[in-house]
Symmetry: C3
């Protein structure tokens, strides 16, 4: 847990309710999934599950009333930004939206450390989306308020990885023993890299289904191999779908192919249709980080195993949990 | 009322207060003015009037506390967006603003149905502005949360039509027997088309004053004629202003004219000045959907009959009413 | 106090709590620092100090619950916009953000008076940032709701001037007898002009340190000279830093120089480093309106005398005070 930095309590920073200042998450930054112990993960998911039940029962509540979230997005991501906004507002807190950074002083040359040190004068917690790897860790070093990484380029997007795992747990229970099949662009997909690393903590089997040029990077397969994870590689989903508890689909982008006709050749092979789903188990989930283009045909949406829209909702609960935790209120 | 679709109650969708779940508006979409019965209209305006009185008395209240509105604008409309935001916030609810759609995933090819199905994971009601006719009806088919149409291209803008009629009622009382004169661009003005259709439900006389090339479309005059509405057509406001209870002015856009000099010739004829108002009744209202350019001279603004800024305020009350109604709280 | 215009109480405008409607600030516009008497300033700073203590103790409170602020920005200013948003939300109020004015009807030719008259239908107070001098005074003439000037081009930015002075008071106490040194671009810096004028009300000494072509304008030095302020002019900070209670640094912009090599020659002379600070008093403050580029080296940030990030926080308290005052609640 070396990446978790305890924040100094400073004058001007205050936690009026104070009920859970003893929590190991209070005042911590959320920068990487690597920072969490197994117990941390279990605790986050417990709180997220409580959030789900509270929302189902009463919709919203005032746990973070009077708290302010600065939603600092250096690149647009409507989905992530909206999810954090909804999470904060369902907990009774308020949001300072900072989306137009290209038009503002932060694009006139002000450094990221200066920007977050200014924002911490206003906000109790800062959610940061930035195109450069390491931006969140950098920001975290300069502010006494908690930073939550909402994606830093090719770096990490820890709340996405957490919501993916939370989705699996909520839908299927304990991940131990599950077979998870990842489909599509496994080379460039930050999402599947982080999820694979998180799943490696459990006794899972991972199947990788992709075109040859979009295989899971060897750095990751080697890392997971050392941890004892069973991994298999395939060109064709048909071979493994029948054994899969989870099928996680990502988009194969045309731009990844030098020769457009190569794209045309392979892309169809990774499209999920009702026909595909007929080979799948009765109890399994089909996931996708969204937005989708055509990797999953819309005819599949009504299949109860299609979990990708529920995934969005689980994301809100995970973010509610993290906000409450770092603000000492969960 | 065929366009009103009852939403299925799903797990994850919840109405904690539940006082008015028996309301015919609860969980309904607001897509078109055609969906409302006369009783529906009367009910909406009663609630909007109550909202007006509540705001006058206490400014804001917590009827929708804990509810979230996703304000999804695919094209900018500061006025409409601000009005819905104010309406939600005056009722104690919160807003997820989604204005930068051109920069976000929704512009990277994600379909409207996918976007609203994602947003319904976060929000309790979705307000949608979209450049394409039918967008709101499409969105409504795909989400279980209520959709409110905030304008869909050349289609409808039902809350504008409702606020126009509500303005007339609040300012002058029962519309029965009123003479309403519409001035300016009657050919392309979505606003006057919708208002004319709404007014046709009452025993009104409609005067149309416009340049020859911007007449009210025959499709509408024929439809209203069949309903027994008395309609007259004029080039000149002077003929009818003295008999008008309502003068509704719209902008004549230069771009509508092939020959710019034709524009210069006619545009002046439709400008309202203090001189114009001297011919008007003492008890009447001058309306405009705003923004205005020069169709009404600013010297008229202080005339108590100039109702166009009050119109904005009535719009907030109508939107407060609709939000409360579809969320089962009015 | 001629610039303070009392707003007429109109139907539809309401102050539910009403505790301090007798305040001289209730329903006033905040357009210029010139509008304030010395007593006004003392009162504002008392309230701002109370805000600081309340935030330190409980973070946020519901003084402005149910109140709506329209944050109308015709040009981007993330820092100022976020500060007002935070101020309103920490007081329990809500914000209508209107940032994308270039995309909206306000850029389609609608006049500023029409825009604010529309917005006052929704909001209780309007914060206005506009590139043209006099915009706030113009807006104030047309609306019955209070306007707060958040910068009007080369005109004024009164809340910046107030927060600068408030910073000095909170950090050092009574300004009487202080020596304040202004460094950098004193010719074009709206910030230092306003602050100099405000400080002239106290018995202060002002040192101006700048390149020759960026001297404090004679119009200002003459005005302050008549008020009896001791003013000195320098090329070099070294001469005066040892006597300064406040060093206020502004950015020297390359674009101000006809010959870029002139810029290179002088710019280094106005950079504050730890070495510079060694000549400064033990009890003094180093200020900067931010964003900084390289006028203050980041090694200085940890110096307890470096007050520029605390300045941001003081800005929030001043804006909380002004919002509460004009809404009759302080």
């Amino acid at each position: 847990m070396t990446m978790i930095q305890e924040k100094k309590e400073t004058e001007g920073t205050r936690m009026p309710f104070g009920d859970r200042r003893d929590s190991p998450f209070y005042r911590r930054d959320i920068v990487s999934v690597l920072q969490f112990s197994d117990d941390d993960l279990a605790y986050i998911f417990d709180v997220a599950h409580e959030m789900r039940e509270m929302v189902a029962r009463i919709g919203a509540f005032d746990l973070l009333k009077g708290k302010l979230l600065a939603n600092l997005f250096y690149e647009p991501s409507t989905r992530t930004s909206s999810s954090f906004t909804a999470a904060m507002e369902r907990l009774g807190g308020s949001v300072i939206p900072i989306n137009e950074v290209t038009y503002s002083s932060v694009s006139k040359g002000e450094s990221l450390p200066d920007t977050v040190r200014s924002l911490e004068a206003y906000a109790d917690v800062i959610v940061l989306r930035h195109p450069e790897q390491g931006a969140s860790a950098l920001a975290a070093r300069y502010t006494t308020k908690p930073i939550i990484n909402a994606g830093d380029g090719v770096g990490e997007h820890p709340t996405q990885a957490l919501l993916d795992l939370f989705t699996i747990i909520e839908e299927l229970g304990d991940p131990q023993g599950l077979t998870v099949t990842m489909v599509g662009d496994l080379k460039y997909g930050r999402t599947v890299h982080s999820l694979a690393r998180l799943l490696a903590r459990y006794d899972v089997t991972l199947n990788y289904v992709s075109p040859d040029i979009l295989r899971m990077p060897e750095s990751i397969t080697a890392e997971l191999g050392e941890m004892g994870v069973v991994q298999t590689v395939h060109d064709d989903l048909g071979r493994v779908i029948g054994d899969s508890d989870v099928v996680y689909v990502t988009r194969v982008q045309k731009e990844r192919f030098e020769n457009p006709s190569d794209y045309e050749t392979v892309s169809g092979a990774y499209v999920i249709t009702p026909e595909t789903m007929r080979s799948a188990k009765e109890r399994m989930v089909l996931m996708h980080p969204l937005p989708r283009v055509n990797e999953i045909s819309i005819e599949v949406d009504d299949d109860p195993r299609a979990a990708y829209f529920r995934q969005m909702e689980y994301g809100m609960y995970v973010r509610m949990a993290l906000l409450a935790l770092v603000l000492g209120k969960a």
